[in-house]
């Protein structure tokens, strides 16, 4: 269970989140929707511990190893797609899994050998998704994860994420009700 109590956050004079309370049960799936600037990314950054709220508390009842697809890909530029994925592998994990997961997202062996700055926006997004899956997190956090992915590839990416997150907690930030539905998320509007 992730429990947020009375969370508030402002940037200067601008109040982004005010007195927010939220509970996400273990294995629950939540989609956070809302207009741009509503504080969706701020909220997930607070949950991941990247931003401190001005007030309120956050508690976790389960182990909290996060895996994320950030709004920006946050891939290490000069490294290849393969190495970007390898750095998040747990100690003793089978490296053979890396290409298997990349393949499942349509990133071929040839593409995975390329530095990520030579990949297209959609390909980079899929590498970031593969990295999240390979990190085997307890909590999946996805911030507009399917931005830039073509409609042909989208179903396989959604399916791969959904399968990897089976039984795990998943938090999705999106503008698309279809994406929330495809991942079986309860929707919360900010």
């Amino acid at each position: 269970m992730i429990r947020l109590e009375n969370i508030s956050k402002s940037y200067g004079d601008q109040q982004v989140i005010s007195g927010l309370g939220l509970e996400i049960p273990d294995g629950g799936r939540l989609a956070i929707m809302g207009r741009s600037g509503a504080g969706k990314t701020t909220l997930i950054n607070i949950i991941m511990g990247l931003i401190k709220p001005d007030s309120g508390s956050i508690s976790f009842s389960e182990r909290r190893r996060f895996g994320a697809v950030f709004q920006e890909d946050r891939l290490v530029e000069p490294l290849t797609a393969f190495v970007n994925c390898r750095i998040v592998l747990k100690k003793g994990s089978d490296e053979g899994r890396i290409q298997a997961v990349l393949d499942s997202l349509g990133i071929t062996k040839e593409l995975s050998k390329k530095p990520v700055n030579e990949l297209s926006g959609g390909e980079r997004r899929r590498v970031a998704t593969a990295r999240m899956i390979l990190s085997e997190p307890d909590i999946f956090v996805l911030d507009e994860p399917f931005k830039g992915i073509d409609s042909e590839t989208l179903p396989r990416v959604t399916e791969a994420v959904s399968k990897a997150a089976e039984g795990k907690t998943l938090i999705l930030v999106t503008h698309s009700p279809e994406e929330a539905e495809a991942l079986g998320c309860r929707v919360m509007h900010l």
């Binding site: 994320a68 946050r74 000069p78 490294l79 390898r86 750095i87 050998k113 990190s135």
Partner: protein
């Protein structure tokens, strides 16, 4: 119609141009030597080259090159290591950064000769070049690596935090690729500096058995051929080491980035 060229052809062309530029300046040197007409003032490139070949086979040559290389490169590697360590500490602790700032500024602004004379008084002349090359290299490496650390992308550091990436992996895969371009540029400058300052220290300190001492002797007896031959040796040693060192850095970079896996 404009002919297109391949990268290989461009590469070849670049080397031909470089060789032609070198040939041009050797011709200028030869012309100058003939115009002056005195070997005491300037000897011809042929004579300098012949003297270089003669020197190469002497045991004195090998021991002088080994003596100077060992000391200058010891100073370089000590400065490389301490420059990196100090930059990492400075990036974490503002007080260390503030404390080191005047030291690096003073080292950069002070004439190397002042340090050489002071170091002779403090340490004598035998290991003078170790200290001087260390002193000249340290601020370059320290400031470049510190700038590299300051330029690391905070978003990648946050990513590493979220994924719980170990400190060792963070260092190798997140920090190193971002700092490496700064380190390479620092090393390229520092490698030239350490040879120049190290040899200058040996000349002023007359370190027995060093390349600097050979240069000093050449100056003393007006042996311009020897002077130019030893200068060529220094340039060669400096260039070869710089190329080798940068190649090693490049190989490490390729290994980390996973290119051609």
């Amino acid at each position: 119609m404009k002919a297109s060229t391949t990268p290989k052809a461009d590469y070849k062309k670049k080397y031909i141009y470089k060789a032609l530029a070198v040939a041009f300046w050797i011709i200028v040197w030869e012309a100058l030597a003939r115009a002056v007409g005195s070997e005491l003032i300037i000897c011809s490139p042929y004579k300098a080259f012949r003297r270089l070949l003669e020197l190469c086979v002497t045991p004195e040559f090998r021991s002088a090159v080994a003596f100077s290389s060992l000391r200058i490169l010891s100073g370089f590697f000590a400065a490389l290591l301490s420059g990196i360590v100090c930059a990492v500490i400075s990036s974490k602790f503002q007080v260390v950064r503030i404390l080191l700032q005047p030291i690096t500024s003073v080292i950069k602004a002070t004439p190397v000769a002042s340090f050489i004379i002071l170091a002779i008084i403090w340490f004598g002349s035998r290991n003078l070049s170790v200290f001087i090359s260390f002193l000249m290299v340290f601020p370059v490496i320290y400031l470049n690596v510190l700038e590299g650390i300051d330029h690391t992308d905070i978003k990648l550091t946050e990513m590493a935090k979220v994924f719980g990436i170990s400190p060792a992996k963070k260092l190798i895969y997140i920090y190193f690729p971002q700092i490496l371009p700064f380190l390479c540029s620092g090393c390229s400058v520092a490698l030239g500096l350490c040879w120049k300052s190290g040899i200058a220290a040996e000349v002023i300190g007359i370190s027995t058995g060093s390349v600097g001492e050979m240069l000093y002797r050449a100056k003393l007896y007006f042996e311009t051929g020897d002077l130019l031959a030893w200068t060529a040796v220094i340039i060669l040693a400096s260039t070869v080491f710089e190329k080798l060192f940068m190649l090693v850095l490049k190989l490490i970079q390729r290994k980390i980035e996973g290119a051609g896996r």
